[in-house]
């Protein structure tokens, strides 16, 4: 799907330069194809397309795609009025999103223009020559890149040992050499290694690989092969976003207050929490007893303050819009919890987080699907 997208985009842009003549040839080709198209195919002659495995792309094909991509990139840069020489992938993404705006929720379904290397899965070129002799000496192991990698790794280990011996001979052997920092990265997973080597490996093989790497790292002087090792490690994901604590300000009377927002379903709310001393609450200019006649909504408002035991201390001024009664109460509760963070210590913030007061509720109304009565409910099933 993505491939066809690229093809259309690339070919579209490629033909921008010379429009009319090529269009005619394309249409004539199409018409010829239409005349010679077979109407039906008998089942005996039909090829089992699935049995072939994943689609195979030849090297020439990939090369042609790369050329088209480069040309298309230049055309795109021209279209956007930017410098074709310094057109990066981010610029490409931006331009495509601008030219082909899409409202689809699934990001992978949107129009895409990336380098063919990233789009087409890596495939092994033919491993043997015209005489049938394989190029690589380890071809008959079945996993040539894996074993060649293991050999390479072992030779590096031997190199390091030789270096160690040399240092010892010179008398400069020291245990405390610079260590490779491994804190911020993790080993490649088995799937990632398979992608790198373009061949399948078993879990035993993977374990052996990791063991050898660890052995390499356990030796002193391993920083000689730092680059090699880091090639096979991936950085750990960035730490989960720490809660942004709203900054408490002081207004003209010297009362500390903090503002924050909250959202739930389709309601948006914003709360100003003042450290006055009375327990008065105003919602959209009305008394909260009048705005939320139902006890349940008022309990939702009360929950953050009561949990921390600060019921009578604060003054709340809330605005809320959208959604229904319950979702407005939920949005206000989230906003109050967030605003309260700035008046609490670290430990108390942690208890609030664990109580679930700071988590925005991700539940939204599920879409109704065609062929069903609602999001999940199906039409009444009739036997006949």
């Amino acid at each position: 799907m993505a491939a066809s997208c690229v093809r259309t985009v690339g070919s579209f842009l490629g033909k921008c330069g010379n429009c009319s003549s090529s269009l005619n040839t394309v249409t004539s080709q199409l018409s010829r194809q239409v005349l010679s198209r077979q109407i039906c195919v008998s089942t005996a002659l039909k090829k089992n397309l699935a049995a072939g495995g994943p689609e195979k792309f030849t090297v020439e094909f990939i090369q042609k795609q790369v050329e088209e991509f480069d040309i298309g990139k230049r055309h795109l840069a021209n279209m956007m009025g930017e410098d074709p020489e310094n057109f990066t992938q981010e610029d490409i993404d931006r331009s495509i999103a601008y030219l082909f705006p899409s409202g689809l929720f699934e990001k992978k379904a949107r129009p895409l223009m990336k380098h063919p290397e990233e789009i087409f899965p890596k495939q092994r070129a033919v491993q043997w020559g015209a005489d049938g002799r394989p190029f690589h000496f380890l071809f008959y192991t079945g996993k040539q890149s894996y074993y060649s990698l293991m050999h390479k790794l072992y030779s590096k280990i031997l190199n390091i040992e030789k270096h160690q011996d040399r240092m010892r001979a010179k008398g400069l052997f020291s245990q405390d050499t610079k260590e490779i920092s491994l804190d911020t990265s993790r080993w490649l997973t088995k799937e990632e290694l398979e992608v790198l080597l373009v061949e399948t490996i078993s879990s035993n093989n993977y374990d052996r690989f990791i063991q050898l790497m660890e052995r390499l790292l356990s030796m002193p002087y391993c920083n000689m092969e730092e680059e090699f090792v880091l090639h096979y490690r991936r950085p750990l994901e960035a730490r989960s976003k720490k809660q942004m604590v709203p900054v408490p300000e002081r207004d003209d009377k010297g009362v500390a207050f903090s503002t924050s927002d909250g959202r739930r379903k389709t309601s948006n709310s914003s709360v100003v929490l003042r450290d006055c001393g009375s327990g008065r609450i105003t919602v959209n200019g009305q008394e909260y007893l009048h705005y939320f006649p139902v006890l349940q909504d008022r309990e939702q408002l009360m929950f953050p303050l009561q949990f921390m035991g600060l019921l009578g201390r604060f003054d709340l001024q809330c605005t809320v819009s959208g959604g229904g009664r319950s979702s407005q109460a939920g949005a206000l509760r989230l906003a109050i919890s967030r605003a309260l963070l700035s008046f609490l210590s670290e430990g108390e913030q942690e208890t609030m987080r664990q109580a679930g007061l700071l988590t925005p509720d991700p539940r939204v109304r599920e879409r109704k699907k065609p062929g069903q009565e609602g999001a999940r409910r199906k039409f009444t099933w009739k036997k006949r």
Binding site: G279, E287, L289, H290, L295, E299, Q306, L311, G312
Partner: protein, 393 residues
């Protein structure tokens, strides 16, 4: 007495110092009482509204049962009546609006036209209760109490509508009139025999009430002859009005109307031809409106606004202007508006202690400080809300 003191101190330590001003007085009262009354900081022994003052603010006083039965056959909120039945006692809280009106009633000059007081406030803030408190005061002073429990009841859901015998353009409501006359008789039993009618009333060809007959006879006439009950009501009101205005009258009249904004609103009663009945066409309403005009002396008019029973008014309206409407406001003008707010801190604490004392709050957490704060938050110190929440605790 010593053990009493220690118990009292324990109770006081629980509660903060909000009630210390009244405490000294309570101590004296307790010392005077011969039997050990259950001492509580939120109660006062002063059962006579005339003697209550700012010292008793926020405290509950018990209505003597001798007063309760005649005074309030109607007129109390339904939930409160249930509470009275459960707790076996009728307790009113002394609150500033009622005290204010009582003080005005004490100081007013009754040779001038009747003063109009209007209680207003948000829903459930205690307007009807304040009205009943003021009525209790008037009752203890020996006034004639004309208490209409809810004017809205006369304006909607009328089952029977008769064309009036007195004035053919108007309509009668016999059922409502008879029930009201019965309650009126219960309230003012002792005074009805003393007051005499001033005019002669002819009901039908054969029935009439002469001058100088006791009012009780008039009322009985209305109750027994259902058809003419609305006219009896009208006659009664007129008579009382005339009599109290006279300088030699030995009684004063208090007119207490709950939900007075019904008199100038709209009605949902329909005639047979499905057209809506105009309020002026109802005898009861017409006579009541005549009473509300302050062209008579020797009494007072105490009223409340009510949004809950009113028709075609928005839920958020509670100010006199909004609920009375243009005509209502003009006819009530000039009046003394008295705002009835939600409980203050002290009053809230009183109510909470009262429920605790009556063992109404069973939930273990409701007896803690945190529980009290929660209740205060959830009910936003609104009396009826607090009552509802405590109902299931």
């Amino acid at each position: 007495m010593k053990y009493l003191f220690t118990i009292n101190l324990n109770l006081v330590c629980h509660v903060r110092t909000l009630h210390t001003s009244g405490w000294g007085q309570q101590q004296e009262a307790v010392a005077v009482e011969s039997e050990p009354e259950p001492f509580s900081v939120f109660r006062t022994q002063e059962t006579d509204p005339a003697c209550q003052s700012e010292k008793h603010l926020g405290q509950f006083y018990t209505l003597p049962s001798a007063h309760f039965r005649p005074l309030f056959p109607h007129g109390l909120p339904y939930r409160y009546q249930q509470q009275v039945k459960t707790f076996n006692e009728a307790c009113f809280m002394v609150r500033p609006p009622a005290l204010e009106v009582i003080s005005y009633l004490k100081k007013a000059d009754y040779s001038k036209p009747a003063l109009r007081y209007l209680f207003y406030g948000v829903k459930g803030s205690g307007k009807t209760m304040s009205l009943c408190h003021a009525v209790h005061f008037c009752y203890t002073q020996g006034w004639v109490v004309l208490h209409i429990p809810d004017a809205h009841l006369w304006v909607k859901n009328c089952k029977e509508l008769l064309p009036s015998s007195y004035n053919s353009a108007r309509f009668d409501q016999p059922l409502q009139a008879t029930t009201w006359l019965r309650n009126f008789r219960t309230t003012n039993e002792h005074l009805l025999s003393q007051i005499k009618t001033k005019r002669r009333y002819v009901w039908t060809k054969r029935e009439s009430t002469d001058e100088g007959r006791p009012l009780g006879e008039l009322v009985n006439q209305g109750i027994s002859r259902v058809k003419s009950s609305s006219d009896v009501v009208g006659a009664l009101m007129k008579d009382l009005r005339l009599q109290s205005s006279q300088p030699g009258a030995d009684f004063r009249l208090v007119v207490a109307v709950d939900g007075v904004n019904a008199l100038w609103g709209r009605s949902t009663i329909k005639k047979e031809n499905k057209s809506a009945v105009d309020l002026e066409e109802l005898t009861l309403i017409h006579n009541l409106k005549k009473l509300m005009k302050n062209d008579w002396t020797g009494g007072a008019i105490i009223t409340t606004l009510s949004q809950t029973g009113s028709l075609y008014t928005p839920k958020s309206a509670y100010l006199p202007q909004e609920l009375l409407g243009e005509t209502g406001f003009d006819s009530m003008d000039p009046f003394i508006p008295v705002s009835v707010p939600n409980y203050s801190e002290k009053e809230f604490e009183s109510a909470y202690l009262y429920y605790l004392d009556r063992k109404w709050l069973q939930h273990p957490q409701s007896r803690t400080e945190d529980g009290k704060k929660e209740l205060s938050f959830l009910s936003s110190k609104n009396p009826s809300m607090l009552d509802r929440i405590c109902g299931f605790l």
